[in-house]
Symmetry: C2
Subunit: 249 residues, 2 copies
Amino acid sequence: MNRENKIGSYHFVAEPFHVDFNGELTMGVLGNHLLNCAGFHATERGFGIATLNEENYTWVLSRLAIELDEMPCQYEDFSIQTWVENVYRLFTDRNFAIVDKEGRKIGYARSVWAMISLNTRKPADLLTLHEGSIMDYVCDEPCPIEKPSRIKVAAKEPQAVLTAKYSDIDINGHVNSIRYIEHILDLFPIELYREKRIRRFEMAYVAEGYYGDKLSFFCDEASEDEYHIEVRKNGEEVLCRSKVIFADK
Amino acid sequence: MNRENKIGSYHFVAEPFHVDFNGELTMGVLGNHLLNCAGFHATERGFGIATLNEENYTWVLSRLAIELDEMPCQYEDFSIQTWVENVYRLFTDRNFAIVDKEGRKIGYARSVWAMISLNTRKPADLLTLHEGSIMDYVCDEPCPIEKPSRIKVAAKEPQAVLTAKYSDIDINGHVNSIRYIEHILDLFPIELYREKRIRRFEMAYVAEGYYGDKLSFFCDEASEDEYHIEVRKNGEEVLCRSKVIFADK
């Protein structure tokens, strides 16, 4: 199979209500585009969620790491390329490049996905999916950013607590993966976003939150410009962890 | 000018993170698409925000009313048509039709816009804009829903209070028009959305909210299935008012 068919490329424009007060695309919207591209790419190659659902399986996002030199600005065209880097028995690595209107790669992302059975909620063996045909799409395109890391948070007191509302909930009845990104970035004062930009952003999705859950956000300042966040439900179960690394503009 | 050139039509797909727990497009996302279509249509005809900004003017959304028989569902294609219904000295009426994948009109929307000077923040005379050329686009396409109405709220105690955060703020430094829609719809319990759908939704934008403002949401149950909401900043100044009318599914 030729390389072109392994890499999907999708075009976007940074819409006015999708940029922050700096006029730059928000991380939540970029995350949404990345996940949509994953869906487009998989669907076009026969292993999208709709096909999997027919067989009572679904994709579950486990990790996401995004690293950027810059963000697209309001009204700017950009595109996202995506491809499969590895397929293991229980996980697959899908990578992304964010490409500006001049064709320069301004950022990359890495994601890790599992396939689970809708009946048992247990992970399924990817190597046997459609007789292993997903492996035909594995591609050695470079993705020069670090893999998602292990995140540990020591903070004992939450920095913010909120209740999951109607707008937070997705079609599966879970707190939507993108909303966590927005709520986490809302922990930081706007002044920080005036002076700094997000250089690297990581999410590790651990368990599902539901409507009415009390979401507590615990945050460590791990070093200058680096923050580790843990979101717990009803003060106990960990729902997700995140790492946010800022850089001077 | 022929009718085709007066009506803009734009295609969308209901993305997975843009639908609610019922699998239906959220009102916030629909509102975002409507405002984008207004921008596309105006830009293509020479009176978009970028052109106006060069002359130190901008468009300001004053009213929005959306009425629907149904919402597009996850992964469904739909399109939005938009046209200018009226141009007055200080306001222009722009209407919309929401068209499902079979070409059926499943909803309509009305919006009212003013043009203001970026220097004085005062309204500008639309009849003299580009020698009145915006009038060339006025179109008598039907829009069989009521005009935005007057909304009065009597409630003395807020139903919710929140502080405007980083994700709420748009490129102008104001609380983003779409976020108000989401916050307002989050006032209702998820059970309501299980049994009812939003038949009509109205927003009247009155003043600007800023980062850190304490937004208080006052809500009257005007009649069964009809709610009137007022959002005030720091307990005083009215930022916007909304009317939400539910119907049985």
